[in-house]
Amino acid sequence: MRTEDFTFLAEALKQRSGLMLTADKVYLLESRLTPLARKRGLDTLDALIQKLRISRDEALWKDVTEAMTTNESFFFRDTTPFDLFRNHVLPGMLKARAATKRLRIWCAAASTGQEPYSLAIILKENAAKLAGWNVEIVGTDICTQVLEKARAGTYSQFEVQRGLPIQMLIKYFRQDGDVWRINDDIRSMVSYRPFNLLQSFAGMGTFDVIYCRNVLIYFDQPTKRDVLDRMRRVLGNDGALFLGAAETVLGITDAFRPVRGQRGLYVPSDGTSEQLMGL
């Protein structure tokens, strides 16, 4: 790939999705966009790039952006963020929101749904304590294709074996030919919508818990700061933010601070979350 073509694509992708592509990721562009070029009836990646340069084909740009996003996900990924939710965040929220009985959770990179459904399963297992509560899990992703799969709630045998304990498979899934389908009572706990984190969060409402894992790693420093600072403004003062294992707020923003000894969990710097969650 020519340097000028790489620069052209990298700049457009950054502007559209925040995705940062360094020069060592040429292979990633080539391996993901070549199949897309073929699908669009173009012979080569060069032809695709030429088309992108001369036309304002928004649908094509959307496909390019979606092809470049990484959507790997599995149930209860990394374990700790879900143990912390079950043992600390949820008990804290049960106390703090006892009057309003309202709980809102945002999975900001919901991908194919494993993360929001893992949370829905934990909530289901605490259903007795949440009787009469209005609980909402909002799953968003920039990629509409993955959200379709998330909404369908169907997973391959391979997918249900990565992170999902067998007891939960028995309890919350049913077999449907080659796929495993999550039960409707879990599926209906999550609402999905396409959303680009570079867009304004106005209209999202406020949240008690935000999961934003393994997405900031693809952004540059100013974009990370911008997203985190805006997330602070839609998160309650006693709320919780979960980031991916390779991500942090340190050196990026003062809006959040890490909770000592609790990997991946961040709280508003000026907030009261730790007391509430017994951490």
Partner: protein, 121 residues
């Protein structure tokens, strides 16, 4: 070092499982059917058994029932690893005392995830 008995009538599967589990720091024993596995368990109980279902002489489920009826021994964790991939088999295995269940084909990631879930890693 924890010990794992790999029970499968396929030499290839035993070899693949051994390689993955040795990388995860397990000491590996092998058994070719349920009877062989039961004899080995009675002689020396492993920490975990990775168990195929369909085998000659004594199948995995029969082995599991016999194993769980042993008294006065430290019961190992049992992880089924079989091509039987329907809900009825899974339920039957769990009801008979299996701790986890892997549907073949498996890879290192699945073994690691499942062993993690039962607290072995």
């Amino acid at each position: 070092m924890k010990s794992c008995l790999v029970v499968d009538d396929s030499k290839v599967i035993r070899k693949v499982a051994r390689r993955i589990l040795e990388e995860l720091q397990f000491e590996i024993g092998e058994a070719v059917d349920g009877k062989d596995a039961l004899d080995q368990c009675i002689a020396k109980m492993p920490d975990v058994v990775l168990l195929d279902w369909n085998m000659p002489v004594m199948n995995g489920l029969e082995f599991l029932v016999a194993l769980r009826s042993q008294t006065g021994v430290k019961q190992p964790i049992v992880v089924f690893c079989t091509t039987e991939n329907d809900m009825a088999h899974i339920r039957q295995a769990i009801e008979a005392g299996a701790d986890e269940y892997i549907m073949k084909p498996f890879d290192r990631e699945i073994i690691e995830a499942k062993f993690n879930q039962v607290g072995l890693l």
